[in-house]
Amino acid sequence: MPPEVEGTGAVDPFLPYLATIRSMVDLTPDVKLMGLELDDPAIRDSFDYRPGQFAFLSAFGVGEAPFGLTSVAQRREGLEFAVRRVGTVTSALQELEPGDKVGLRGPFGNHFPLEDYRGKNIIIIGGGIGMAPLRPVINTILDRRADYGDMLIINGARSPQDLAFAPEFDTWAQAPRTRLELTVDRGDEGWTGSVDLVPTVVGKLKPSSQNAVAITCGPPIMIRFTLAGLRELGFADHQIVTTLESKMKCGLGKCARCNVGDKYICQDGPVFSFEQISRFVEQF
């Protein structure tokens, strides 16, 4: 356990747990899947989290950055994070190898309220690295398939090789009452699938809004047009859920970096329905 804060009985919330990298797998040219094991057995056993929650990973000597947990706690296969190379911390993390140490703080934030979605049809719409927080949603639903209605997964990326979770596509596509639609901005020689933007695919497939929830994550521009498309299909704002990205530094509601209106994305989010987001004074 991290040491206690002297005289308070509390634990220093900035002090990360130490974790060891167990696996590093290339998902796309710029995304690696990092498998971690927490070093302290007691913390490892008690570390529980839900789809949509995130944690900070430290590359020691460089800094830390927030990442969505992309594994499913109940599967007990270790903690997984999809790390896309975008800055100094992510580059440093990608340089690491199995056996190396990282720091981990978390889990933070709220989660997708999957309990509330029992019996509903689920539409998952993810673009690029935005699939990372959606993957545990899909896998949790697949693990409890009978609890949920039909599932439509729309996954887009810039090119076929940027579809990060390709190794799992067969499992997803073959699951009962599950449909997987892939789309890319630019195809390549081997690509026979759809070449379209994600919002266009949503418009073509016209998923029904009846008894349905749409869960979406991706670049802001994709979200904006997807939202418009879903509204056109009759989805009410409370039926559309997303996870907001922001420049968080602490995850504790202290650094005020992720402040939007009276909300801190790190604590009140990152998962919000568009009904909640539309009540923000300032819209992201």
Partner: protein, 332 residues
Amino acid sequence: MSQFMSGEDLRSWLGNLAQERTLIAPIRSDGLVLFGAVSRAEEIALDYDNTLLSPKGHLFPATDTLFTIERREGGIELVPASVEGEAAIFGIRPCDALGLRVLDRPFLAEPADALYQQRRARTALIGLSCHKASPECFCTSLGTGPDDPSNVDILLTGAGEGYIVQAVTERGKALLATAPLVEAEVTPPPAPSPTPVPTEDIAEVARRAFDVPYWARLADRCIHCNLCAYVCPVCYCFDIRDHSYMGRMERMRTWESCQSPGFSRIAGGYEPRDTKGARLRQRFYHKLLYMPEQFGVIGCTGCGRCVTSCPVNIDIREVISEMQRLGASSAS
């Protein structure tokens, strides 16, 4: 009858205090008055309006090591920073004491910020009432006042040749146990009265004044330096990164300002607040609307530092008055 201490006795008491704990007090150097650690009472400035920077930096330093990272035999050990010894801040003004009370809201909320919590617990506040109201002061519009004792352990108020001493808390009483106090019949000078600013219902007004062209016009003038946030006793945004030097690694946090251009830019380059107006509005809305909504306190104490130090005179008093006007007119 009040407890009274002469100016000379105050210096000798402070001198003794500096021997037993870290004493932070106003010091004059190069024409500036800044809080700093003093070892001798003679270093302390007593005749100042207010310090250039607020004392928040002694509880929430501009640069703070959260922990050090040590590599040992292939493994990593994290050594948390520790806070040692007791401290006292002498000469804190009531506005700045209120500022610390406001900072408590985010920093002491669970899970508490460990370093801030320890420093706060170990730092006694010896307040000094204001002898005059500077033109930029508006503390009375924000729930405190020039002789408000409510957020300090001890409050001193200059009167005649010395100071009236109020022990406000138990800690204050303990600190004064060895002080050369006398009972005296002294009347404090009348408290100065700063010019009021219309802060009533400011949160309500703010909700209505959000989408007005005023913010873009105001931002024309703003040069987006971090000055207002750094001089503010309440602004608490920070940045965290690691610092490596000659093999030594530390996780550091430093002050940061919502006015700096990359403040909210996320990985991949998306900037949610991408206009100068949106950034400037964030500063005032965080203080006047979001903090009241979130914590029930206004994120401003009326110290006036941002007013005096803004290079282009973005004056929060004027902004508040404008918001009142704009919020009122868009309601009707």
